[in-house]
């Protein structure tokens, strides 16, 4: 299992931040996922080994956190918030539009592997609703037209 130099540097540094190795687990899983695309059996075994945990321990933690995934998904994960503040300003309509446009439902991935779609809970953009996160990037004060443009831009990047 090969991670980037940046990952390794951050990991070494993180080990010095806590009195227990295990404390690095949650952020390390997320950074590993960012590089590997998802937490495969191989990634899980690697991280369990490094932190002296059983694979079961690691899987038990993964299943708790909504951002951690064990199956591959699209290059761009379109996360549409439909929680109360976004719902009042069109979050549900935005989700429906994305679903039709991409031809996939909640947690689905397009056949070309470019997009995944997710209905998510509050992402902390309530005052700029409706809002969407694509991977880690926030897109706020959205309309259907703005959303189309954003999806088009990501498609070009793919």
């Amino acid at each position: 299992m090969k991670f980037s130099d940046e990952f390794e540097k951050r990991f070494r540094e993180m080990l010095t931040h806590y009195p227990t190795k295990r404390s690095c687990l949650v952020p390390t899983l997320l950074y590993a996922q960012d590089e590997a695309g998802y937490l495969s059996d191989e990634v899980i075994a690697e991280i369990a080994g490094r932190l002296e945990l059983t694979e079961l321990d690691v899987r038990n933690v993964i299943s708790y956190y909504s951002m951690l995934i064990t199956k591959p998904r699209g290059k761009f994960d379109v996360q549409v918030c439909t929680n109360i503040a976004c719902m009042l300003r069109g979050g549900e309509e935005l989700l429906e539009h994305c679903s039709k446009k991409l031809g996939i439902g909640h947690k689905g991935t397009t056949p070309d592997g470019v997009f995944s779609l997710e209905e998510v809970e509050c992402i902390g953009a309530c005052s700029w609703a409706p809002a969407v996160q694509v991977n880690y990037d926030f897109h706020e004060n959205l309309t259907i037209a703005k959303m189309d443009k954003i999806l088009e831009e990501y498609k070009q990047k793919a």
């Binding site: 931040h17 404390s23 949650v26 952020p27 708790y64 009042l88 509050c122 902390g124 926030f138």
Partner: protein, 435 residues
């Protein structure tokens, strides 16, 4: 990067460095940066605690507990190391304020952590930032590294002979981790299952050591109190509710945004003056005054001061400062359903009243909203919610039950309008307000 707004009624304390380039350490120093820590270094721990107590600062995460009081619970002597834990796992629906602080003024949070550390005798602090806020943890990592490079953190800070270390930590998506004991579990690399209390974190916290856990906004307020004084800060707010806070206006309002207003600011003025009223001249139906877990207020209950005690008297809570405004075209059954769907999704399942209660309530509300409800459901929803209260390790169960009780009590007529297989009366009325 989220847009900034402003209003003449704002009292800028926490937000005074917003959009002033304060993420840059040199700029931060020009704006009185790290002077508060230097001042604290010259004070005794008891003097720092008393200053914060007298300022009337109360926890901005939602519970509104006196910050100085919380610090005073940490034992003076401890065999295990003491820790400061900054809660930046902001995820209460309606709340987007800590995000602004991390984005514009990360050093203020670091300073707050350091001052808390000096007050309780801790030499290490952790700043936990929710996983979705990746760009903010990058800003924070740089701020911490810059502070180390300048000798503000690490060994012998400011030549005082004292050491202090601050670390950042990232989450990976979980509302419940915003609860203090689940936050500690998560930081320790586990599932965010809450711990039973007592013992309280001030005595047995992170890795068994005494731990102070404060919200990011609370800690960011502390340096301003150190420099401006307790009396000045207390005087900004109402009795026992010192200072200002960030209010996040969202929903059906003309000028949504994060505004810093004095504690005790009138809610009606907040909606109509600061927020510019309801789009399209529509009428107000309800307000969720402090994030989704706070019982809603109806349109005739909004002439109320937004401080912890006044909101409690009004039958709700000031919560985390998320003010969600709901107009007359919104179906409250649907609103209740969306709120409950969130809590059901976020319940960790550890405590049965929360795990089963949120699931049953979501199912009942879903059936009810789609026309399959019966009269008995209305009372059952209330009964079920009331029986979740106070029966769980962490307040997630309460957070789900409290708003539901208010929805059912205050909008019973709307629930009844969904009976006998009738379609939702608002389905054709509501139109989303998009920018």
């Amino acid at each position: 990067m989220a847009d900034l707004v402003s209003h003449p009624d704002e009292v800028k304390v926490i937000s005074k460095r917003f959009s002033k380039g304060a993420t840059n350490l040199d700029r931060y120093l020009e704006l009185d940066g790290y002077k508060a820590v230097e001042k604290a270094l010259a004070m005794t721990p008891d003097d720092i605690i008393n200053l914060v107590k007298n300022s009337g600062l109360r926890g901005r995460g939602g519970a509104g507990f006196s910050t100085g009081m919380k610090w005073s619970f940490v034992p003076k002597q401890s065999a295990k190391p003491k820790y400061i834990l900054c809660n930046g796992d902001e995820s209460e629906p309606g709340t987007c304020k800590d995000r602004m602080i991390f984005e514009h003024d990360p050093h203020a949070v670091i300073e707050g952590v350091m001052i808390a550390g000096l007050a309780v005798g801790a030499t290490q602090g952790y700043i936990y930032i929710r996983g979705e806020y990746r760009y903010l943890s990058i800003i924070m990592q740089k701020a911490i590294a810059d502070a180390y490079a300048r000798g503000f953190l690490g060994k012998n800070i400011f030549g005082s002979g004292k050491n202090f270390d601050v670390y950042w930590h990232g989450g990976a998506g979980a509302y419940e981790v915003g609860e203090e004991s689940a936050l500690m579990e998560s930081l320790e690399g586990k599932r965010g299952i809450p711990r039973i209390r007592p013992p309280f974190p001030a005595v047995v916290g992170l890795w068994g050591g005494p731990t102070v856990i404060n919200n990011a906004e609370t800690l960011a307020s502390v340096p301003h109190i150190m420099l401006g004084g307790a009396e000045w800060y207390a005087g900004l707010g109402t009795p026992k509710n010192g200072g200002t806070r960030l209010f996040c206006l969202s929903g059906h309002v003309n000028r949504p945004g994060v505004y810093e207003l004095a504690m005790g600011y009138n809610l009606k003025k907040m909606i109509y003056d600061v927020g510019g009223g309801i789009p399209g001249g529509k009428k107000l139906k309800a307000v969720v005054p402090g994030g989704s877990s706070c019982p809603c207020l109806t349109a005739d209950e909004i002439d109320v001061a937004m401080d912890f005690d006044s909101m409690m008297k009004a039958g709700s809570m000031l919560g985390s400062g998320g003010v969600v405004i709901v107009d007359e075209t919104t179906c409250m059954v649907k609103f209740a359903l969306r709120t409950m769907a969130f809590y059901q999704h976020e319940s960790c399942g550890w405590c049965i009243p929360c795990r089963e209660g949120t699931d049953w309530l979501k199912k009942t509300l879903k059936r009810f909203h789609s026309g399959g409800g019966v009269m008995k459901d209305i009372d059952n929803m209330q009964y079920l919610s009331e029986n979740m209260l106070g029966r769980t390790f962490c307040p997630l169960g309460d957070a789900a039950a409290m708003p539901t009780i208010a929805f059912v009590k205050k909008f019973r007529k709307e629930f009844e309008a969904h009976l006998d297989g009738k379609p939702c009366p608002y389905e054709h009325v509501a139109e989303p307000v998009m920018a």
